[in-house]
Structure formats: structure tokens, C-alpha cells
Symmetry: C2
Subunit: 377 residues, 2 copies
């Protein structure tokens, strides 16, 4: 029976070197928050990097001391689970630009002694991956058995295949896209405007005030609409009235009270500037940017790839995932495309789903088609 990895702790590592970003700017000192589960085998061949999505963090599984809720991917990570911590050494780190232990706009700027705010440089998905690579190097891991992630985590997984093709044997990208189209950008942009338009944003230097909590809540509400499917919402909420608003325009429909709750709880745990930086990193991510095509971008990747899409995910629809699969196939690469039927929309990848666990476990445990392990570099 799958169980929980149990008590875990977030660890912190400061990278030995300054980090030069894609933008050309340099961060002199980069601290990364990360967690690990399971044990690295003596040959160092069983490391699996898990990449989190927009609002995730390093706490992917198990329980922090005194906590009631487990990590964000408890459904997938643990002994006997989709990512089996009895077999694999799992690493998950908070992304660059985040607000959960890794350096980001809410961190102290050594030049001023105050939080960076919008003086923090713009970051990219490629920069996030570079930080992960350096973290792994510091942990003594030169090659990954697999990198795996959903949504923005899937973008990082794909970026690994492009940036460090020789360092990763298996790539698992779930419910993601190789770049944003204008509709996806538009939803993010509406959220960013809500934050920036909040007077408490204060140009991004709000850390001695309340911060743009109303704007961030609206941004989160917009996000949540795109994470659920139309059908899933109908099944979950219908036109049910759940709120008893004391004001004329207070939340009344069940879907309204749900969104209000999502907005309110998000602002307690997330930094509005991180929301701006990370959504911008997602919007500007384009796997084909330097090479002009998916095939060219992925040409150097000789590992295996698993792509999992959910039928009702309209934020990152199956069609875009299939494009990636076709590109790998045209390159002669080994790729599995799997579409899971679900009414849960984009959020499906975060929910307990035995099919997803089975597909991932099967993929991670397989040898490659030649029957041999991918040669270690």
C-alpha cells in the first residue's frame, strides 16, 4: 500500500557562484529552498527532479512538523506511489523568483538591505532550470534519472531536455505547453493588471505595508477559472447558491464563494511580486525561441519522453502536447503520449489519480527500447 514519506524538512543551499541570468543581469547570491525524499543510490543514478507549478514550492510531499496538510504532490510522491521514494531519490526546489525560500522579489537586496521588490531582475524558465542544475551539482548529482513536472513544472522539464539534454535520461511533462499562446498570456496579463492596479502594490515596494492583497486575490480567481473545466464546474457548483451576502454584490453562487475562498487563502501564502515575475517567466517561455522549431530545439535530446495531457484541460489542451510528441517522433526520439480522460480540467494533474500514478511509475521503471539503461555520461 502506498503511504506517506512522513515528516520532512525544507533545506536551504546558497549557490557557490553568482548567477548570470538570461536577461544579462547577475544575482550575486542565490539561495535555494529544496526538499529531498528517499535515498540517493551509491552510483547516483536514481535521482528524480520534481518541478513545481506557478503557486507551488519545494514542499512536494510528506508533512512539515505540526502540519495537517501534506506537500502539494503527496498524491504522486511517496513509498509505492507514482514517483516511488523507495526506488528514487526525489528532489524538489522552489523556483527562482518564488517566495517560498528561494531568492525572489521579496528577498533582501544586499545592495539596499531591503526587499528587492521590482528591482529584482526578470527571470526566465531557463534561469529556473539553471538554478536547479547548480543545486543538483552541489548535491553531487550530475545526471538525472528523470525530471518531471506539471503545468509550469512541465515547462521546466521540457527546458531541461533542451538546455541539458545529456544530463537527463527521462523527461515527464504533464499538462503543459512548449509556449503560451495569446489567450494564455491574456489571462495572466489580466491578473497582473489587477495586482499592479491595486494602490497597495506601491510600484512593487510594498513590503512595509499591507501589499496588493485584493489585486492578488483577483489574479488568483482568474487563474482558478482556467484551472477547472466548464464541465467540472457545472458538476461541482451548478447554479447553487451557497453564500448569504450581507452586501448587494457579495458572493452568493457557490462558484463565487469558492473563488472568494481561493483568493483569500492564496494571499496569505503567496507574494504578489512573485506572481508577476513567475507569470511573466511563463508567458515569455518559448521552447522554439532560439532554434525556430520544436524538432531543432529537441534534436540533442536522446532520452525518453512521456507527455501526459488531460482531456478537459483547456488551459494547456491535449493538441499542444501532441505537437511536442510529434516533434520528438520526427526526431526519431522515444516518446509516449498519454491522454487521460478527466472532467477536472488543468487541475487534474494535482489530484489523486491512479492512472497518472501508474503511467508515470511504469515509464520511470522501464528500460529504454534497446533494453539497456541509458548510458551514464
Amino acid at each position: 500500500m502506498p503511504s506517506s514519506i512522513g515528516p520532512v524538512k525544507t533545506q536551504y543551499l546558497t549557490l557557490p557562484e553568482p548567477l548570470r541570468l538570461k536577461s544579462g543581469e547577475t544575482l550575486p547570491e542565490v539561495t535555494v529552498a529544496y526538499e529531498t525524499y528517499g535515498r540517493l543510490d551509491p552510483a547516483g543514478g536514481n535521482a528524480v527532479l520534481v518541478c513545481h507549478a506557478l503557486s507551488g514550492d519545494a514542499h512536494a510531499a510528506g508533512y512539515h512538523e505540526g502540519a495537517v496538510k501534506p506537500g502539494w504532490w503527496e498524491a504522486m510522491i511517496g513509498p509505492g506511489k507514482g514517483i516511488d521514494t523507495d526506488r528514487y531519490f526525489v528532489i524538489c526546489s522552489n523556483v527562482l523568483g518564488g517566495c517560498r525560500g528561494t531568492i525572489g522579489p521579496s528577498s533582501i537586496n544586499p545592495a539596499t538591505g531591503r526587499p528587492y521588490g521590482t528591482d529584482f531582475p526578470l527571470v526566465s524558465i531557463a534561469d529556473m532550470v539553471e538554478v536547479q542544475r547548480r543545486l543538483l551539482e552541489a548535491l553531487g548529482i550530475r545526471q538525472l534519472h528523470a525530471v518531471i513536472g506539471g503545468s509550469m513544472g512541465g515547462m521546466q522539464a521540457l527546458q531541461w531536455a533542451v538546455a541539458y539534454p545529456e544530463r537527463v535520461r527521462n523527461v515527464v511533462a504533464i499538462a503543459t505547453a512548449y509556449r503560451h499562446g495569446p489567450q494564455q498570456i491574456a489571462f495572466h496579463e489580466a491578473g497582473r493588471r489587477a495586482i499592479i492596479g491595486d494602490p497597495d502594490w506601491q510600484g512593487g515596494h510594498y513590503y512595509d505595508g499591507p501589499g496588493p492583497v485584493r489585486g492578488l486575490a483577483v489574479a488568483r480567481m482568474i487563474g482558478h477559472i482556467t484551472y477547472l473545466s466548464e464541465q467540472g464546474m457545472r458538476e461541482k457548483f451548478g447554479r447553487e447558491i451557497r453564500g448569504r451576502p450581507t452586501e448587494k454584490f457579495g458572493p452568493a453562487f457557490a462558484v463565487e464563494t469558492y473563488l472568494a475562498h481561493q483568493g483569500e487563502s492564496f494571499v496569505r501564502r503567496f507574494d504578489a511580486n512573485s506572481y508577476l515575475y513567475i507569470t511573466k517567466a511563463i508567458d515569455t517561455f518559448d521552447l522554439t525561441e532560439e532554434t525556430g522549431s520544436l524538432e531543432a530545439a529537441l534534436a540533442a535530446f536522446k532520452g525518453r519522453m512521456l507527455l501526459v495531457a488531460f482531456s478537459s484541460d483547456w488551459l494547456y489542451p491535449p493538441a499542444g502536447m501532441k505537437e511536442i510528441a510529434r516533434a520528438v517522433r520526427r526526431n526519431g526520439g522515444e516518446v509516449t503520449y498519454c491522454e487521460l480522460d478527466s472532467s477536472y480540467g488543468h487541475d487534474a494533474f494535482l489530484l489523486k489519480d491512479d492512472r497518472l500514478a501508474a503511467v508515470v511509475a511504469g515509464f520511470l521503471g522501464q528500460k529504454n527500447t534497446e533494453g539497456a539503461d541509458y548510458p551514464a555520461s
Copy 2:
């Protein structure tokens, strides 16, 4: 060749009686802004009521003095057009709760001498239709040849068939729904939160201040995303960079500068409280509310109905329109369902489209199946 109706003027009428609303509250004095095009024939049988959508107004066609832009449905209304002003007497009025001449939250509350703000009572689609009926009565029109509208205008057209089935011979509902599902409510709610969360909203009593212009702009941006299709956005914007932001998070992608422009221009012409009241009227609209089914709701309607959907409209998808058509058919009613292929999404109904004009013109000009005009009441 179709041409413009030319110069037009908005007119105003104060209803002779107070208006008791669905909520139970009463508005003592209701002024309605309206425009008319064409001539009412002596028998009064050629009147066509045009109902506008969320952000529309009474100015549906022709040009106001000195104006460069025509009315919002110039593409459809005029001599020789889809709604032919050489044949029909066309009336369009601003909805109750609006901000373009008809009484709404920005109107003066006679009890205080100041704008109502959120003291204005909640209004419904049924209330909007009741105001239209009274306006028509004041104009000497007891029966309509047709009522026609898209989006929220289509909801009003459907409501006419339910509330006053004997007063309308033909109903044309375009790109609309008989009620909102939770996803549609959710998009509206995110917009309402953006407005209400703006400190300049001031609890709805902002008329001596700047008003919640940033919140309203965000609400409009969210709306616009739902008015376009994903495919249409890709064709129109792609990932093109058009802005040259001076700030880190300024609009850069073409879709971002487009949304920024839409938001900015909207706040100059629309009242934020009207946005709250009208979106709430839409969200609470449910044609089946009193009877429990579409068939029962539409049972008394003996006229003809035309339903037009657009293939890429994901705000009001064809499936919902087909449900209405099936209900009319099950009632033994005469209904035409027409799905037009388009990549323009929900907004398609506002654009020049010869197919839409031809379908509407054909439907309005036809006799009923018995070959006789619908009997005047």
C-alpha cells in the same frame, strides 16, 4: 446597396407609472433612452425591437451629430441591411440599470439628490424587458414583428417570448444562453471583485471621485478574453511583441497592448456600478427559473424563433443554443437553428457578416409555415 440610416438622435421618455421590480422594490420614476430608425407602418405591424448586450446602448445604428463612429450594430441595421429600415420600424433602448441615458446606479436618486450608487435596487433581465414593453406601449406599439438581440440582448429576446408571448411574433436570439453556468458566472465575478476591490469604488458611492477605473479596466479585460476565441486570438496576435514598456511589467505582447487599450477606452464610456448591476442581472437570469424547464417556460410562445450560434463562441457555445431549439421543437413550435462557422468567437455577432444579415433578413421577411402572417392580437 445597403447604406447607413445616417444621422440619428437619442430620445428620452419618462414612463408614466412607477416601476415595481422583480426584487419587490419600486423605482418611482423611470427614464428610458431610445432610438428609432425607419417608419412605423399605419397598422403598427412592422416594429422590431433590438436589444443590446452588456456594454451596448440605445445607439444601435446611424451617426450622432459630429460622430465618426456609427452605432454598435451598424453592420446589421439600415436600409437594405439584415434588419432593413426600409421595411421595419426599429427601436433600441438602453437597458434598465445602464449608464447611457436610462435610469441606473449613476442616475440621481430623487430621495437624496445624489447618484443612487449601490442604493439603486438590483435589476433583472425581466425588469429590463418590462421597461421595454412600457416604452413600446408609450410609442403605441402593442405587438412586435420581432425582438432581436445578441448575447445579453438575446437573453432579453428569449425573456420576451416567455413574459409576453402574445406580443411578439418572431424572436431572434443570437450567441446567447438561457442561463449562465458557473464558468460564465465566475468570469463575471472576477470582474466584479476587481471593481469592488478598487479603493476608488468607495462602496459604490464614488461619483464625486475618480471612480474605480483600474478595477473596471481589469473587468473589461477579463470580459474581452471571453469574447474572442483562442484560435481568433492566435490569428490576430500570436506572440507578437507590440508594446515598448518603460516599466518591467508594462504591456509588451500585442495581446497585452490590445487588452490595455480595451480596458482604458471602456472606462471612459461606462459606469462601474452599471457593470456590477448588469452582470448580476445576467448571472441571475434563468429562463427556467419559474417553470423548471425550457419547454414549460416557452409553452405559451406561438411565434417563430431563430437561434444563431457561432462555432467558436466558447462564452455561449452552440450546444446551449441547440438546447433551446430542441425545447421549442418539442413544444411543436417553429424554430430555426443556425450555426455559423467563425473564428471570431462570441464577438462575431457584432461584426459585419453577410451570412448573419442574410439569415436574419430571410427570417424576418418570411411568412409563417401556414403561409399567413401571425394573427395580430
